[in-house]
Subunit: 208 residues, 2 copies
Amino acid sequence: MAKTERNKEQTKQKFIDAVSKIIVRDGFKAIGINTISKEAGLDKVLIYRYFDGLDGLLHAFAKQKDFYINISEEIYKSIENASKDDVKQLVVVVLNNQLRELRSNKELQELMLWEMIERNELTIAIAKEREKKGYELSKKLKEKMNIPDAELDVDAIMSILVSGLYYLALRSRTVDVFNGVEIDTNAGWLRIESAIQTIVNNLFNSIN
Amino acid sequence: MAKTERNKEQTKQKFIDAVSKIIVRDGFKAIGINTISKEAGLDKVLIYRYFDGLDGLLHAFAKQKDFYINISEEIYKSIENASKDDVKQLVVVVLNNQLRELRSNKELQELMLWEMIERNELTIAIAKEREKKGYELSKKLKEKMNIPDAELDVDAIMSILVSGLYYLALRSRTVDVFNGVEIDTNAGWLRIESAIQTIVNNLFNSIN
DNA sequence: TACTTTTGTCACCAGTTAGTGATATAATTT
DNA sequence: AAATTATATCACTAACTGGTGACAAAAGTA
């Protein structure tokens, strides 16, 4: 018999990795004490010992990853330095950036779907964090644009546009056409990105 | 013992009603052979006999209900009779109509979430039907507006807006604020409806 | 070396799932 | 009234779920 290496931290990491693998491969629905321990090749009792149960493990998992849509430092700087005229284009860039990030990140997609279905300690915490980050970005853009609240409800408008992109990205997991747009091809997604461009342009024309 | 009434059709209906009740009360996640038979107060073996299993029952359930967002005859007629100038306002009415319908229909919400999570015979069929109906309506509006495809990608724009409303309605089940908009209050939803108005107005201003 | 603690495995529990074969009883036909 | 068919119940299976107590073996300490 080869002697078994024993290392608590390494073992804990194996469980966290197993969670990630299962989510990416089979979706959040497949997450459970048994599936995880099987995937990790370790006994499930360790999940109770090291993480105090499934909730604790999921928390450790969430802590280790960034589960809000990542806003690059680059974009943040662009906003700081942007002139008022550039901001319109920046809004488009930010929106399309979020779309691409979500489309390419299967783990994030699953997490967002999970948030929509189940309300547990984990999903609530993650959703709250993302809402905070997203809203901060939104506020920064709004300030730059310098539009009086009375004139244009930028928050409400942005919430519709962001939601639209979220939905389309998540929907494309299980469907190939939405309202005549092929969301399973690059050509389709280019149409969506152009549409965002069009909407934003026309919106702020009336102001600028 | 009170004699048990025996009536196949009535019994089948009881199962279908049970499916509906469970979905509304506990969500699609709770659907299963055991929960349904328990809710119906009947033996689960009847589900196999009368519907050839869960899939068959769900099919019967879906057939009996309208699982696409209902477009009232009234609105259809309005579109037919609308002048070119009215159409812009009609788009707003149709969008806000869909939002209200979805917000008030818990069963529909659950079905739409289900479609996003699982790809089975039922969810595929329902989604396909809704896509068809929705796209028909969209095409009707587009024709009326008489905008050349080259000028404005109406399908893509509408897909973003409709998606946005879908997402917000579904998200409001588990979250109370999105991008600073309170989607758990009427005031918040009024902001969303106004934002739709704003977006559509600005979009088609450039054309008309 | 002998003892203790940490790390990991194994075997089992009670509860739930989908699915089925045998049986009882109501309704219909002969 | 007797026989047949349709309708519904019951009791069971095998596989899975989350959860736990008893044990084994490695690592650290006296």
